[in-house]
Symmetry: C2
Subunit: 242 residues, 2 copies
């Protein structure tokens, strides 16, 4: 089986978590493939499992709700050169949060955790919906490595969970001893970046984060909205790791 270099834009790309185990696409993906893209037997398709693998395949059978395929080529997918865990407070207007997720997925990142802070106006996040949005964008931008979206977590609990991890940053709006985001990204391609809600982190949260080893960072001189800060953080790691 020879290897192909990239996911190609001229062939449709489907998401199938069990790609290498089974040979069936079902569920929403199959529905979309059959009803919208009208995939037929003998069509050439691409499949990714969202955890770094992608293949080219030939459709061998199409039923009402499933597509069977035979893998013909393994696609050599370049690995993401950075490992960014975005920890962002949900915005009041979820469209903004979804927009941040879309843009960040296009650039590429590893993990998103919605963090519930003292000033958070929203505490409930539908991660199912975020996952559906992420998968659509990841496929459109031809990714084989999808970010993981975690369930929301409270600030204090997240601090405890990440106590022993290095390269942790917290974006603070207030004037304090901060390094720039670019400097942080240049130090290591692996990092956790915390971004607060519309009302910023509380004084207590900022202090707690510093006690847990988080380094305060500045996202620059402009006053950025939460979702724009998330995009800025992701793009900074993207641009410094090309």
């Amino acid at each position: 089986m020879h290897k192909n270099e990239t996911i190609k834009s001229e062939l449709p790309l489907f998401y199938c978590p069990n790609m290498l185990l089974g040979n069936v696409i079902d569920g929403d993906e199959a529905f979309h493939a059959i009803k919208v893209l009208r995939i037929c037997v003998d069509d050439k398709i691409q499949i990714t499992d969202g955890i770094g693998n992608a293949v080219t395949a030939i459709v061998t059978q199409v039923s009402k709700k499933a597509i069977q395929y035979k893998i013909t080529e393994v696609i050599e997918v370049p690995k993401l050169k950075y490992n960014l865990h975005l920890v962002v407070a949900p915005t009041k207007n979820m469209e903004r949060y979804e927009n941040m997720l879309e843009k960040s997925t296009e650039f590429g990142f590893s993990m998103l955790t919605p963090i519930i802070c003292h000033h958070s106006e929203r505490t409930i996040v539908k991660t199912d919906r975020l996952n559906r949005i992420m998968i659509a964008v990841a496929k459109q931008s031809q990714k084989a490595m999808f970010p993981t979206i975690n369930e929301p977590i409270k600030f204090k609990k997240f601090m405890e969970q990440t106590h022993d991890i290095t390269n942790k940053y917290i974006a603070l709006c207030r004037d304090c001893n901060r390094i720039s985001l670019l400097e942080a990204a240049q130090k290591s391609p692996d990092a956790i970046v915390l971004i607060g809600p519309e009302g910023d982190f509380s004084e207590e949260e900022a202090t707690l984060a510093i006690q847990h080893g988080y380094v305060p960072i500045s996202l620059g001189n402009s006053r950025l909205r939460t979702e724009t800060a998330g995009i800025a953080a992701c793009h900074t790691f993207y641009v410094t790791n090309q």
Copy 2:
């Protein structure tokens, strides 16, 4: 009259292009101030003319459709350290273009020109609406220097108009001799960056641009949507000029 260092988030900021000439806020801004924010006589406000100046003022009179004010302080506004002209093909879905304008306004940039290309599905752009969106975001992110939004222009005409300008870049998706966007931004804080429509620039357009002195750039390894490319271009200049 003493000087104040920054535009403050705790005071409302109004846009008044004739700020330094007259002492009246009228039109939409006055309507918003009177009906929504319920501004009264003796209230302290901030005003910007959108071309780099900002002041603190006291409201001296409120009528049905206008606010009169007396300037009390000049605010020393830091200048934008880069001069980025974004030339971006309108997206089919204008919401995406507006989103790019919003994010770019938050970071800060100088000028936006919608460029009509061979593969452009949209050729009409309501710049009035873009201006209203831009002003709302610029005020929210406490800017005193607003970007200029030009009327749409055809690709060939834009090439002719910019022939003699230096630091011009064109984002090309195809493989060719490209420098990175970061490298371009590090060369000079002043630049024109061209970003094509959903179907990319045509071969003829790419060739014409290179003939006119445009340098091909890559926005990185990810396949980015038009509006995400615009945000990436703006953020790259923002992050390299802090």
